[in-house]
Symmetry: C2
Subunit: 277 residues, 2 copies
């Protein structure tokens, strides 16, 4: 197959590297930066620049949400009939509702997707051929033809993903608000204590873990958050409410309640570890 990756940043670059390293497919690239295209060709990350989307059997759009929608709508007539177009955005309802019908009217299958992997760095320079190793590949196939779904599924398993999870755009957005978006909000809020100024020498793994993803790309995450407003508001209100329970236990010096709150959390975490094995 010919696979075209649009946007050779961390995510797109990692797709290209995985395709070239783990499959025999031809991999073409599209990027606004000529330097990135040149570098990717010289490093054999891609076989060449894609100047005609109609050669591509699978087109993976690795751009920010708005740019993904814009690229797909602007090029909907140019994709190969019968080919698959997919994306990687951390928000699915917005993407799918913006492009799916238009693309399908042009005889192309659109399957929304979200590879559950990343790094606290962005750009081609940080892309890795094994970024997706054992990661979860979420897709929202809806009414897509079965053979297209299985073609995409086989490709991503070849690229190293550990499993494929199928869901609806709405369910994706609700769960991701908790498992990913809330983590970035909490991490960003965590780092801002006035006590941070005295932190050096006083922190171990827990501080590093809680604040790791505060180093984020604010343009991308702002777009994702605003587009997933309702589920994310729900999660922030929920954790705020739960934090107030620990606060009350402390204010009342209620050791029994604090112990119970912590024990419940420990048990849930242990079950979560088991379920993810």
């Amino acid at each position: 197959m010919v696979i075209t990756v649009v946007g050779l940043g961390l995510i797109g670059g990692s797709f290209c590297k995985a395709i070239k390293e783990k499959t025999n497919h031809t991999c073409l690239g599209v990027d606004l930066s000529e330097d990135v295209i040149k570098k990717a060709i010289s490093e054999k990350t891609i076989d060449g620049e894609c100047k005609d989307l109609s050669v591509s059997d699978i087109t993976i759009i690795c751009l920010y949400p708005e740019a993904t929608v814009e690229f797909i709508l602007n090029n909907k007539e140019k994709f190969k009939k019968g080919s698959i177009v997919t994306d990687v955005c951390g928000i699915k309802e917005y993407i799918v509702s913006s492009v799916k019908n238009d693309v399908e009217e042009c005889g192309v299958t659109f399957i929304g997707a979200h590879p559950m992997a990343g790094r606290e760095f962005s750009g081609y320079a940080y892309s890795l051929s094994d970024l997706y190793k054992n990661a979860s590949f979420i897709m929202t196939p809806e009414n897509a033809p079965e053979d297209a779904v299985s073609t995409l599924e086989k490709l991503v398993l070849d690229l190293g993903f550990g499993k494929v999870v199928k869901t609806t755009p709405r369910e994706h957005d609700e769960i991701i608000a908790y498992t990913s978006q809330l983590a970035h909000i909490v991490s960003s809020a965590y780092i801002k204590s006035p006590t941070l100024q005295k932190e050096v020498g006083f922190s171990a793994g827990s501080f590093k873990d809680l604040t790791r993803v505060a180093k984020l790309n604010e343009d991308m995450w702002t777009s994702l958050f605003i587009k997933n407003k309702e589920p994310l508001i729900f999660e922030i209100k929920e954790i705020t409410e739960r934090l107030s329970e620990y606060l009350n236990a402390l204010e009342n010096e209620d050791s029994a309640l604090m112990r119970e709150l912590l024990k419940n959390g420990r048990i849930l975490k242990e079950k979560s570890i088991e379920k993810n094995k």
Copy 2:
């Protein structure tokens, strides 16, 4: 020197293993469990059981806060005159104010300490000779004799600690409320969303990082939290206040404000990474 470790759990067991592996000191152990003592002797983690504290040049108490205070007060007459007694509790004001004067009246130097290392497991079975590698060793020497301070300092650097930080009990407790205790509260609160039930397949590194320390020992942490009530209440109120700023930005769909909030967090995290290099 003869070094006695009291309490061969994760922290105490790791001290013993590091002492035996990295120094030529004699290492004796005290533990309520005969099985643990036998196992530690058979694994050469200790040279033997300590039945007489007066042989010990440095005694490291690796027990929970209340048990640490109780052990020290009950044995204050038995420590060797001129020797050093230290502890490992994650709370210093309570420990130091409870034991320091009593111990010093018996001709023994007490130096409060807090090794900044741990694992989300407890017990001797999980102890590691390199648990302290590159970690920070916090001590609260106050008026301790300089030679005692430098003896302890040299020992812990030999054991693999990366640096020694000297502070007061109060400052320790205030900073630790932020860098460690708050992390455990937030992690515990994070795991409890109703959305957790749908999480499998939808999470990547950020969810794992944010919830790792929810797997905690609720008895130990309840004790630490209640004893450090004021600074911890301050930190919970602070992060709750900051979370409400992100919530407001979302509710008002204020992208510019959200971007600013995230950007400020990113810059603080980047500075923190630099300062910790």
